[in-house]
């Protein structure tokens, strides 16, 4: 598998993502600076990592969504390449219009950093196939603005079309309908607030994140 991790100024999970991908899948991982206007050829997965791109100026992900590389990311997604936005990466995908909704400040106004139990709502996606018959997973969240918001009509559509992939068992941040992760209508762009890159080996408390990356490998 060939993967790329986009690095924005202020990304801080970029190297975690690289290590997680390498260990979980054996992928060859390129780090791509956000000012690049080309991506490596024949990628199977592009990861937008967590962090505080551009210091969260204006709104989380707003500036990063306009980075030169994002045109290429959107074009690759249009060709069917898998794209995973994790935490800040999820915020960037929403700001770029590649996923619906937005991430608001946590309802309790607190940064939450802890392992969370998730329901795998759709196990048939390119990001969940390797979970097999399992319908639950554990990963760590670390966010201050992880409160997923979309209008009721959009939420109904997301649920009706199987685009809700992960849901919190106990909502840590006020997200609408406890949504933790969604995909686009094509099923190849994932936004997820919990960090699979912080849960790829048992020593980290959970290895469930490895299954997410392995799912992409299996479909590659």
């Amino acid at each position: 598998m060939k993967a790329a991790v986009v690095v924005f100024p202020g990304s801080n999970c970029d190297r975690d993502c690289k290590v997680a991908l390498e260990r979980a899948t054996g992928a060859r991982v390129s780090m791509v600076w956000h000012q690049e206007t080309t991506l490596p050829e024949r990628l199977d997965l592009i990861v937008l990592p967590g962090g505080f791109s551009y210091g969260d100026y204006l709104r989380c992900g707003a500036m990063a969504a306009l980075s030169p590389v994002m045109g290429e990311v959107a074009a690759a997604a249009g060709r069917g390449v898998a794209v995973a936005g994790i935490c800040n990466g999820f915020q960037i995908l929403c700001e770029a219009g590649m996923l619906p909704g937005a991430l608001l400040r946590n309802a309790a106004l607190r940064y939450v950093c802890k392992p969370v139990a998730l329901d795998i709502v759709n196990a048939q996606t390119r990001f969940t196939a390797a979970f097999g018959g399992r319908r639950e997973a554990t990963m760590t969240v670390g966010n201050g603005e992880g409160n997923f918001f979309a209008d009721e009509e959009t939420l109904d559509r997301l649920e009706g079309d199987g685009q809700v992939v992960f849901r919190y068992k106990r909502n840590p941040n006020g997200s609408s309908r406890s949504i933790a992760g969604i995909v686009n209508p094509g099923g190849n762009v994932l936004g997820i607030m919990p960090h699979p890159d912080r849960a790829f080996e048992a020593d980290l408390g959970s290895a469930d994140g490895a299954l997410l990356f392995q799912s992409v490998l299996a479909s590659a």
Binding site: L58, C94, E95, P100, G101, L104, N106, L109, F149, G174
Partner: protein, 80 residues
Amino acid sequence: MKAVVHVFLKPGVLDVQGKAVQTALHGLGWVDVDNVRVGRVIEFDLGGEDAAGARARVDAMCQRLLANPVIEGYRVDIAA
């Protein structure tokens, strides 16, 4: 010309910052304070003389970057 853009969360979108500020104001004794909303003001200079044209340009800026239309509304003031 000078443009001033006020950005606020839309009605119906939970403004937790506003809620926290309201609670604090209540704590200071201003108990009749209600519906606190915390927003953002962005101001900048803009070339050209045509106020209507400037308004249209700033509106486009709001749609593209300054506000997120999914969650935020905005108001544009243009001054000479």
